[in-house]
């Protein structure tokens, strides 16, 4: 069991992920904005963060990941994005040179299947 932080500006998406991850035995904190997320990261650091790339701004998730990693360099981060489907831009965390500016340990494309997210969470928490 771990403490997870999920950041997304869609309240329904947050509710759904919270139920999924709680039923898998995790404790879940929710943040609806970068600001809320940073406050949680400062006060009650989680064991892992899951964040959407596009929130208030197109790049909110990037900014958040940078701030999260500067506060807690070892915090595993999963970034969830619809950017590939929407723009055709492809990001790979494994690609050389990209992991340095893309501050995420895993990148999942929307729509994310529940079991896929749980698998990534388990992998990164090991």
């Amino acid at each position: 069991m771990a403490n997870l932080l999920i950041v997304d500006d869609d309240i329904d998406y947050l509710t759904q992920q919270k139920r999924r991850l709680e039923s898998a035995g995790h404790r879940v904190m929710l943040a609806e904005s970068v600001e809320d997320a940073v406050n949680i990261l400062r006060q009650t650091p989680p064991d892992l963060m899951i964040a959407d790339l596009m929130m208030e701004q197109m790049d909110s998730g990037f900014t958040l990941c940078h701030r999260a990693k500067s506060l807690h360099p070892k915090l595993p981060v999963i970034m969830i994005t619809a950017v590939t489907r929407e723009t055709g831009m492809v990001f790979e965390t494994a690609a050389p040179g990209q992991s340095s500016w893309l501050k995420a340990d895993a990148l999942l494309a929307k729509p994310v299947r529940p079991e896929q997210l749980l698998r990534e969470v388990d992998r990164l928490l090991k």
Partner: protein, 379 residues
Amino acid sequence: MEILNVLVVDDEQGMRMGVERALQNFVVPLPDIETEIGFRTQSAPDGATARRMLNETNFDLLLLDHKLPDMTGLDILNELDPERHAGVLSIMITAYASLDTAVTAIKHGAYDFLAKPFTPAELREATAKGARTIIMARKARELARERRRVRFEFIRVLAHELQSPLGAVHGYLELLRDGVMTEEPETAYDMIVRSLIRTEQMSKLIGDLLDMTRIESGHMQRTMETVDLRAVAKAALENVATDAAQRNISLPPITAAGSACIMAVHTEMVMLLNNLISNAVKYNRDGGSVTVKITDTDDRIRIDVQDTGIGMTPEETLRLFHEFSRIRNAKTRHILGSGLGLSIVKKIAELYDGDVHAVSAADQGSTFTVLLRKAPAKI
């Protein structure tokens, strides 16, 4: 200034020099698009040299002599690569001016024909005509590219806006199917309620999209009639009365100075007022109020819809009337909207030679003002 690269292909040295001289410092004004065209001229004495130069440099305009030592001007014309030389325009020059040669040259893709002997003024006139065509075609291509880009961006954002509610409903259905923590009946009930709210949002977006398409297409028959804006505003207030009552928002009676009648398409006025008034309730604070004022001036009608809501910063006010430019912040996070309402209002106002603007202060409220011409210009 736009500079066009000109290649003169002629075996007579005097002719080549004459053309270069005539086009030196020659400027074609294009007042419509606020620019002018200048020319950079190079020349070739034979077909082989022209061929090499065409492969090395990007020319815009060719002045081709028909009779060259090693080939004809038509041969060069035929050799032009349809892709690499797509925007190249050719003017055929020949001493053997005859209708036949002219027709053949045009058939082979030449733009114009110039018969020797010609004066520098005739050369400049033909060159100016060709240059204008080149620049206008270039501008048209740029415009088409920009249109494609805007269309792609619109579809991308639209897809995103449709995907979000669909994804939310899908997620709830999956949770219900998998029976994840739904032992308590209210949990399942909440999921169903949220799903209904999100599908309603989607349906509103599709409705707004159809309204916008209808306004923009201009194909629909627009039947103008006398519309009493007071009655339309009253109906719009009635539509939001339940929501307003739930949040203790007061809706005082409409104030109208003078006649509130306008020659207009009834459905357009309904769309306009419904959008403004429902926004005023949606973005209001609990216990606030929505005031509608209609003022008749000489040739215009002014509609003010004032709310006491969350308001906007000056930067947010600037972005307001663009498609899908919903103001996203902590205060608007739970307010559902299509992001098209105000761009619909703006488009309708423009049909009546009018405009819409907002005056707003954060946390104090906003006033949206629409001005419409009583007898619209575009019917």
